[in-house]
Amino acid sequence: MKKMKKRIIRALLSGVLACSILCAAGCGQKSEGKESLTVFSYGEYMDPDVLEQFTEESGIEVKYEEALTPEEMYAKYKSGAIEYDLLCSTDYMLQKFINEGEFQKIDIDALENSKNIGDRYWELAKAFDPENEYTVPFFWGTLGILYDTSRVKEPVDSWEVLFNGEYAGEVIMQNSMRDTYMAALKYLGYSLNTNDENEIRKAQELLVKQKPDVQAYLVDEARDEVVAGNAVMAIVYSGEAYLGRQYNENLEYVVPKEGSNVWLDAWGVTKYCDNMEAARKFLDFLCREDMAKKNFEYIYYSTPNEAVINSLSDEERADETLVPPVDATENCEVCLQAEPEINDLMNELWKELKAD
């Protein structure tokens, strides 16, 4: 009798467990039969309407995944937990993906709307994708200093202003290793893609010395801090500068004369994608003028889509934060993957800087 009960209890309990697991796994099952693409990109980097309209027009479902930084994207992609079909990342990270054989070649010419992307941007993309066969440009811009003219009287034109201690406690640096080293390296007159250990160490010295004067290391939130007057200046992406100026007209953006980083975000198709046709449709859709415009108006980062640029008003086109002119990017470099040892060194030094 007792044994019987034991068994019943046991059966009941395993039943509960099995049910919960089955239910859980069942809910996780993919909806089969429908064409779908799993897309990985930055948070809020695309107008949700664009995705909806794509699904409407093509019948292909899009699962959109978001990350905050290229490094995070790489870590999540490499874990292999999710097989992404397409991903949008940034120059040096794209180079890493390409070099590691994670991307498939795309027949760019077959993309009807790819002609909307200006030659200037295909040229830029060659820095990490020399034959323009793996990636399609999406957004781009420069990195520069956003400052509050009501508190900085003299015009800013050099990285020096971040390092000379005049605005101690009022400076915001980028909380991204490459971007912060970029500023120091450029100020010292080196290439931001240097593979010289000495140059990196000199940059480190400068940054360590600067740290007490830094109010915070932030990413795009830096813009809000300058808008609110919590800080006087910050290193930001050009698109953020445009948005910042919408809220505070005293703000000014400058790409320092020593040169800076010109960045380019682009799409690639991963090796996991087994529906190239759908991926191509998606990329083509993004290059279409109306969709590119929608995306542009969603985040106001500079678009490489010339059709969109041509449709802007003269005033907008003259805004250097929206459409950086050719001469502003002349002594700017695209950020590339560093040698492994240099990368490890930078990681180590960055950690040291932050822990100091």
Partner: protein
């Protein structure tokens, strides 16, 4: 005799949980250990576990310890007067009173931290109020003090609740008796309330110390990226440097450290571990 039998049978009720613990706690823990004990070139290695003694990591660890200890102490110092105040107002054991401390958690954690950032920033709400009152503005933004406010804010309820529950369970008659015998308020607290609240205090310490030791989001948002807790280092190894082995190694060291310090705290209260959480 009969009792032990039902007791034995009752242990069977734990079987789903045991399966669960094995499936979702022990095995994932094994995965972490595997990474932690693998060197960067593969093969067995202890370097990732030992990496905690690297000066950078050790510094972050000490800072974490500082924050966690400070936070625990502050929470204790804030909780006792609160519990006594509630007692003085005769708000005994009402669930409503308990839920007041949990309710803020229903607003998203990240949003609440961003709100703190707005309160504490240089041109923020706090400084606005201070200057209005003719006081000097406090440069709290992106400092250790801001991080401390953040952790105390976040973990205070975990300290208040168990102490509150332990105190609420004290028999009023004992306190009355002590008073009749001439004990003043402070003596009552020292000789009766405090000793009887110790089980609650211990679980409060565990619930506050452990998460404040491993947190990284708070220091990220309120520390302005200038302050590195060990949690930040671990997070960066996973998401920025893609060095999962080092990240796992550091977490294993951290886990061992926390377990040891918890063993120290709860040495005399193994049976009471986790008692009176609510």
């Amino acid at each position: 005799m009969k009792k032990t039998k039902t007791m034995n049978r009752r242990t069977l009720l734990a079987s789903p949980y045991i399966v669960w613990v094995i499936g979702f706690t022990v095995i994932p823990l094994g995965v972490i250990f595997k990474y932690a004990l693998t060197g960067q070139e593969g093969g067995f290695s202890l370097e990732n576990i030992g990496a905690i003694f690297d000066p950078i990591h050790f510094k972050a660890m000490l800072f974490s310890l500082e924050i966690a200890l400070g936070c625990t102490l502050l929470c204790i110092l804030l909780s006792y007067p609160l519990v006594m105040a509630l007692k003085a107002l005769n708000m005994g054991r009402q669930s409503f009173v308990m839920f007041i401390w949990i309710l803020p958690m229903w607003m998203n954690f990240i949003l609440r931290l961003l709100a703190w950032q707005m309160i504490l920033s240089n041109n923020g709400i706090l400084n606005f109020l201070l200057t209005k009152l003719g006081l000097e503005a406090l440069p709290l933004a992106n400092t250790g003090a801001a991080v401390m406010i953040g952790v105390v804010y976040d973990y205070l309820p975990y300290m208040v609740l168990p102490i509150f529950n332990a105190v609420a369970e004290i028999d009023e008659d004992i306190i009355e008796a002590a008073k009749d015998l001439g004990a003043n308020g402070f003596t009552v607290f020292r000789r009766i309330i405090f000793p009887l609240s110790i089980p609650g205090l211990l679980s409060g310490i565990v619930m506050v110390f452990v998460p404040s030791m491993t947190s990284f989001v708070i220091s990220d948002i309120l520390g302005g990226g200038k302050l590195q807790l060990i949690g930040n280092v671990i997070e960066q190894e996973f998401t920025k440097s893609s060095n999962w082995n080092l990240g796992s190694g550091l977490s294993v060291s951290l886990m061992i450290f926390v377990l040891l310090s918890m063993a120290f705290t709860t040495k005399n209260d193994v049976e009471g571990k986790g008692s009176a959480i609510w």
